[in-house]
Symmetry: C2
Subunit: 247 residues, 2 copies
């Protein structure tokens, strides 16, 4: 089984250099991924983008979706792959590009996938990595800082080159980022209300909860169940008596 590349988009978060965006468009086109989303920085020089994309990938530049903020950019994706050069406890478990390609091959059959990359200088923040179901680290020698388009190329290449030996396992439709964020918002507000989350630093535990819930990939139905639980809890907190569930 190969990835369904028509279900995959490259999402560049606050890219600083138009040349890199152009080079990314070319990479994507080389590997059959021609959807590109740019978050923030709407003033990239178009000439430089088109020049580096080459005329063959000009259509990828024409089709760029410009979005103001990351949450909106990711709303309609069901699976978000984030890249990080830094490893550390706060960043959770990371996989290699090859392990990522294997997962993406299965998930992309039925789901829209975002490959998310941070800005050239600093990469994705911990806050931005929270949106990701999977974090990928590209192995390097001591000098870890890859050019943005080179990082994109390695991921796209691994996805394109991946062929599973067997039939593989289809992954049916997962919840979208919009559904998940709605759920996490509701969970956080509930946990804040009950004092589980410290209002000084609510994100610390939420990060662990997100990691736990996103690792397997949630289905829409499961998101509805979690939200149903939260709603029920809220109702109980407000009314102080146990609501009878139907049946």
């Amino acid at each position: 089984m190969q990835s369904n590349t028509s279900h995959i988009s490259i999402v560049l978060c606050r890219p600083q250099f138009a040349g890199n965006v152009g080079a990314v468009a070319r990479c994507g086109k080389n590997m059959g991924i021609d959807r590109l989303v740019v978050v923030g920085n709407p003033n990239l020089d178009p000439d430089e983008m088109y020049r580096r994309a080459t005329h063959v990938a000009a259509g990828v530049i024409d089709g760029i979706r410009h979005v103001d903020n990351l949450e909106a950019a990711l709303a309609d994706f069901q699976y978000v792959v984030g890249t990080t050069a830094r490893l550390g406890n706060a960043r959770g478990p990371v996989v290699s590009p090859r392990e990522m390609a294997e997962k993406v091959a299965a998930i992309s059959q039925e789901n829209r996938i975002a490959l998310l990359f941070g800005p050239e200088d600093a990469g994705l923040t911990n806050d931005e990595l929270r949106f990701c179901h999977l974090a990928v680290n590209i192995p390097t020698a001591e000098f870890k800082s890859l050019n943005l388009s080179h990082a994109v190329m390695i991921l796209c290449y691994e996805i394109f080159a991946y062929r599973s030996s067997g039939e593989g396992r289809f992954v049916s439709k997962l919840a979208s980022s919009r559904e998940l964020e709605g759920m996490y918002g509701q969970v956080a507000s509930l946990l804040m209300k009950i004092g589980f989350l410290n209002s000084q630093n609510p994100e610390y535990w939420m990060m662990h909860i997100r990691r736990l819930l996103s690792r397997t990939g949630l289905y829409s139905k499961e998101v509805k169940i979690v939200r149903g639980i939260c709603r029920q809890m809220d109702w109980f907190l407000a009314n102080g008596v146990k609501e009878d569930k139907k049946a």
Copy 2:
């Protein structure tokens, strides 16, 4: 077993753009390969090279070995890996970047390896590919033309990421390109002399001979044997009687 990256050099044949050379230096440094050879085009803008290399890889630019012609550039390498976007009979068998990485891991333990890339517009010519022991093709979608530094990155990444599962097989010291070219020159002149090679197009059959001899990788001792055979033939052609070998 991992590759011994200190035995690996990137060789750029007639690169056209200084920016690409800088980006290649950065790629190499990311993946632990910091020897760079530039063949031809000595007038590349240094500012642009340093800018794209970033300050961390400035040392790679400082250390570039500039050479006039490809034969001289490759003389001291024992194994040459060439990249080609085009496939066809004239180009012989090609392998994937991953298969290349597996071979390089074994061969690099005891041998100096050149990763050879052609110019941005046209790639390596058939004549230049003749120097290669192995030809690699990077799989792509319909749009096959990769940016030079992206092609370099994919090969370097595969080499760096490759870990054989077992102990692997060490490949002991192979003949250098200088030894091989000396041998091929001698073989060609002999074959021309005996009318096996057409003086209009001597390269056609030589290409097949090179392919046959280079596929396995020749040891110095074997090169000496082939040359000994040629010498003996030459002597015989000149003297017309069979020379007695000692013992």
